[in-house]
Symmetry: D2
Subunit: 139 residues, 4 copies
Amino acid sequence: MPIVMDKDALSQFLVTDFAQVKDMFTVEEVRDTGVTIRLIAGEQHLRPGGTVSGPAMFALADVSVYLAILAMIGPKALSVTTSCSMDFMRKPVAGVDLLCEVRLLKLGKQLAVGDCLIFSEGKPEPVARANMTYSIPRS
Amino acid sequence: MPIVMDKDALSQFLVTDFAQVKDMFTVEEVRDTGVTIRLIAGEQHLRPGGTVSGPAMFALADVSVYLAILAMIGPKALSVTTSCSMDFMRKPVAGVDLLCEVRLLKLGKQLAVGDCLIFSEGKPEPVARANMTYSIPRS
Amino acid sequence: MPIVMDKDALSQFLVTDFAQVKDMFTVEEVRDTGVTIRLIAGEQHLRPGGTVSGPAMFALADVSVYLAILAMIGPKALSVTTSCSMDFMRKPVAGVDLLCEVRLLKLGKQLAVGDCLIFSEGKPEPVARANMTYSIPRS
Amino acid sequence: MPIVMDKDALSQFLVTDFAQVKDMFTVEEVRDTGVTIRLIAGEQHLRPGGTVSGPAMFALADVSVYLAILAMIGPKALSVTTSCSMDFMRKPVAGVDLLCEVRLLKLGKQLAVGDCLIFSEGKPEPVARANMTYSIPRS
């Protein structure tokens, strides 16, 4: 798919339109098949022991697929998460950022589907996988 | 199933062992088939527009099934979320607490499974459904 | 929700429009919140040992939610399964029919969501749970 | 992960231990990260119109992840499907075989997790995605 918003455009969008979470995520890479998003391992996302919490990983997968859709359709539409499924497979490394690699598998008129692998930075084995479905409003 | 931790015991556990989220959730009811947990609609869980965010609903489902398991097995074991699936079906009502009704469907030696309906307080139709699986460590 | 197709109408629809599986399923009950569908435990759905296979349980959940939607909107629309999630929690009883209890949780303009508990007939504990999402075509 | 059963060994296992479905599936490839399995588009798996049914795609994903696990641990253990999630994204091409590409994401002591992309042979875009979790019995 052709990229409509590149890394700079997506990063700018994150700052202006997602002010609440702008210090939590950064855009690492935009590909024509998806994106890679970083979760900065700050205090507020950590469980006792220093590992990133499940809800923070959910938030990472959610925003990552959302940004992958925007990269392809631009900032005009207001997509809504309709469903997700996640598997938590390994404990994240304490105090380390997470990287979420998204593949955009479908970008239809009504529904978009992406899947994610989430890694502790520097580790080859994923800590979690996720798939998210977004409903795209009729414009 | 017999209840091992009642509402008071679970509420106390939430305060002492989940200090990070103790102001976010309260135990509403403990049944022999599950529990009902309240998400207090505070500023930090809201999206622009005042509705509860997806990650906050994930956190609610996650902690609710966890507490439903503890109600039946007591505070001794450290269960871990292994998978979940959620459907976001309606927009929550702005500024209103959410109630999560859990049914504990299986409590096995290795795995526990619960499902949840999440409601905006006072509304009959669910805003979301979820199912969560926990791995129970061998003791 | 008001029932548009009752038990007789749904049963007739199953025979005429689902000829391939008409000997596999029967409509047990139609409620204003959902339906109960029976899977007749025939040879072709059994694994070695006589228990119903996973794919047969998937087929049961799939057709059950589909029929729950038709019960409310009538036989006019061609809905399509877009996603599902299942947990297999207990081994079905060998040689025994399965009963699938559907709750229709959402019936929107674009998407319908139902969840299911599947029981071996006569047993109180569910063998599986499922949730299915259907896309409803614009008419 | 090192391969314990190669393509020939897995194919032989399919014939002897899965006699019920041996004419439905063939092993296409075994990699150290997963397998590719073919669903032969026979009459019994087709819906009216000639496309492969949802339950047949579920069966394909289920057997594919199972075989991916066996490729790594050998034919000794009896794994059981505990959960799955699928998205049906495009209509399969009528009368065409399906190919299921599995990535084995986790092979733990208790749980194994794999995800799948399912393609109509010759088409670049996936018709479905799935993730399956298996419980591995204690030996």
